[in-house]
């Protein structure tokens, strides 16, 4: 599928991440130090780099800058420090996405899938159109029948994830991994409530669904009501 490089100093995590991605069918190579990682990135032109920020020889964000100087490869950063500031700094430094330790397999897969999809759709360009619904991930704007939708950041992310996988049933667990980045159980209720809000803003209800369809016991999917 894709060629992935994992740069992580912790032996256990490096192996587990590499193995998880290899099981997904990716071609994975790994490096324990920043220098080794940089050599791999330059030498093999991968499709994706997973980069831990806490490396022994060089700060991960330094390495990120060096990678950005030579390549536009998508980078998912692994960080132990959550909080808006460090995330913003990381994204500003050129990361495409991030994972906060401890993350689950589902989150790892979700982030890798999302970044690879975005890299691909980046080549395709433009907003996603589903019937009267238009979702523009790069401008973070959405409209319904030409009327702009006023969505909160979480609602927009939900809509984006569902729109990127239109017609596909997405489980609440996946939505949580994609939008909330929290591995805990128990906050699936948040997904429900945000889906309710999204439904309301799309002008529909659970009883009379149009775009958002609940598949009981499985998850939700976004469909074009006309088809």
């Amino acid at each position: 599928m894709a060629r992935v490089i994992v740069v992580e100093d912790d032996f256990e995590i490096r192996h587990l991440v590499a193995e998880t991605l290899a099981r997904q069918g990716h071609d994975v190579e790994s490096a324990a130090t920043a220098m080794e990682g940089l050599q791999l990135v330059v030498g093999t032109s991968p499709d994706l780099v997973i980069l831990d920020l806490g490396l022994p020889d060089l700060d991960g964000s330094e390495l990120l800058r060096m990678i950005r100087a030579v390549s536009q490869v998508p980078v998912v950063v692994i960080t132990a420090r959550e909080g808006d500031e460090s995330v913003v700094r990381t994204l500003d430094a050129g990361a495409d996405d991030y994972l906060v330790k401890p993350f689950s397999v589902a989150q790892l897969e979700a982030r890798v899938r999302a970044v690879l999809r975005r890299a691909e759709s980046g080549r395709r360009d433009g907003p996603i159109v589903i019937g009267g619904l238009v979702v523009d991930p790069s401008a973070r704007e959405a409209s319904l029948d030409g009327r702009p939708l006023d969505l909160s950041p979480k609602e927009f992310d939900l809509l984006r994830v569902l729109a990127e996988r239109v017609g596909e049933v997405v489980s609440k667990r996946e939505l949580m991994a994609e939008v909330w980045r929290e591995p805990y159980g128990g906050s699936e209720r948040s997904v429900d409530v945000h889906l309710s809000w999204l439904r309301k803003k799309l002008g529909e209800s659970a009883q009379k669904p149009r775009y958002l369809r609940t598949v009981h016991g499985v998850g939700v999917k976004l469909v074009d009501p006309a088809s």
């Binding site: 256990e12 995590i13 330790k101 401890p102 993350f103 689950s104 128990g186 906050s187 429900d192």
Partner: protein, 425 residues
């Protein structure tokens, strides 16, 4: 301290003022009396010599001719003829009688004043010239002088007290400020510093205090950082553990291990959050009713979506709770989220906020099946339905921070009641 200064100065100046003004007052009175007496004596001397002159010109001594010769007498002076006839206003008394009898000048206190008498010897007997000085006359000017002395004395005391108070304030104010700063430092305000002012010794204390506060701040910041850092470092092995557990084949074993990992992770997160939290981060109290209204606005759409009848009974009275609004909102979300998690769609629920004697109360009542028998819903990990029960655990801890509590029970007519009492802190 300031009062002491004032009292000491009051005592000292009062003593000094009394020691000086009382003798001065007595002296003033004595001088006034002497002045009046000397004036009276001079008057009778003058009148006496006039009488002696007159005697040489008249043959017969009678009141009218003598009166004509003497002319108007000074006030308070009389001439008493040997036959008892009287010229002038002063009345005969023991003093005049004695002067006539003993033929010498006599002076003494009499009723209402002081009298002096001088005999002038004639052939018909002694003529007595007498002067009566009233008490008022004796003390004329004394009252004014005393009033002046009193005003002067009080003025001096007042001035001394004011100066002492100023002096006291200049010493006491830095000390009060220091005490105040120490109290605030004790209450957790590490940014508190005192200005360097006042007497040298106190300035030195202030400098030491500031150094102490700065040191405490640095130490605590370092402590917080190291706790946060340690917790961050825990996240790497936690990640490895989670990834390993997720690959386990036995799904029961895996789920139970994952739940334990979640708990561990939450504790680590909490540790980081608490280490990072500073006392001055955001408001430390909020209005329960407004937080609940806000959160209900969030949940109402989901309730509508699931056909749940939502009854909101929130008081309009102020319901202050000594917690940051975020913590209260998390508790409300946990309670309402539990209704959504543990009751089937279509089940109605009521959210109530009221004031009681114990403090503000939040109550969430649902029409679902209630808690299963023999299960304590407040105990960690017992609330079933895939939840770890941590929601209620957090609510209980939040309530406990205010000195409040959580009660859980089933209603006789069915459904669960969760009642959170927030203390006043």
């Amino acid at each position: 301290m300031r009062r002491r200064f004032v009292l000491v100065s009051l005592a000292v100046t009062s003593l000094v003022v009394i020691a000086f003004t009382v003798p001065l007052a007595l002296l003033v009175r004595h001088q006034a009396e002497t002045r009046a007496r000397v004036a009276a004596e001079r008057d009778i001397q003058q009148v006496g010599s006039l009488v002696a002159l007159a005697l040489a010109q008249v043959d017969e001594l009678d009141v009218d001719s003598l009166g004509d010769l003497l002319g108007p007498l000074p006030s308070g002076v009389s001439v008493i003829l040997p036959n008892g006839a009287l010229i002038g206003s002063a009345l005969p008394s023991e003093v005049t009688r004695l002067a006539a009898a003993e033929q010498r000048s006599v002076a003494d206190e009499v009723e209402g004043g002081w009298q002096v008498a001088l005999p002038v010897v004639t052939r018909e007997g002694p003529i007595v010239v007498t002067a009566f000085v009233t008490d008022a006359r004796l003390r004329s000017g004394v009252a004014t002088a005393w009033a002046f002395l009193a005003v002067l004395g009080i003025g001096m005391i007042a001035a001394a007290v004011i100066v002492a108070d100023r002096l006291g304030t200049s010493i006491v104010r830095p000390v009060t400020r220091l005490a105040d700063a120490a109290r605030r430092l004790g209450a957790g305000d590490l940014q508190v510093r005192v200005p360097l002012e006042g007497p040298l010794e106190i300035e030195e204390v202030a400098r030491s205090f500031n150094w102490l506060a700065r040191r405490l701040e640095d130490l605590l910041a370092a402590e917080r950082e190291s706790v946060a850092d340690l917790s961050h470092r825990l996240r790497t092995p936690l990640t490895a553990l989670r990834l390993r557990v997720e690959r386990l084949e036995d799904s029961d074993e895996r789920d139970s291990l994952l739940a334990q990992l979640d708990r561990l992770q939450r504790q680590v997160d909490l540790l980081i959050e608490e280490a990072r939290r500073r006392p001055d981060d955001g408001p430390s109290s909020c209005d329960l009713a407004s937080v609940v209204r806000d959160r209900i606005g969030f949940w109402a759409v989901a309730a509508e979506d699931q056909d749940r009848e939502l009854v909101v009974e929130v008081t309009d009275e102020p319901t202050a709770v000594p917690l940051p609004p975020g913590d209260v909102a998390a508790a409300v979300d946990a309670l309402v989220g539990n209704v959504f998690a543990h009751t089937p769609p279509g089940t109605g629920f009521t959210v109530r906020v009221e004031n009681t004697g114990d403090g503000a109360v939040l109550e969430v009542v649902d029409e679902g099946p209630g808690f299963p028998e023999g299960v304590d819903p407040l105990r960690r990990g017992e609330s079933g339905a895939g939840s770890t029960g941590l929601g209620l655990d957090i609510v209980a801890r939040t309530a406990a921070r205010t000195g409040g509590r959580v009660d859980a029970k089933n209603r006789p007519e069915g459904g669960a009641v969760l009642r959170v009492v927030f203390g006043r802190g």
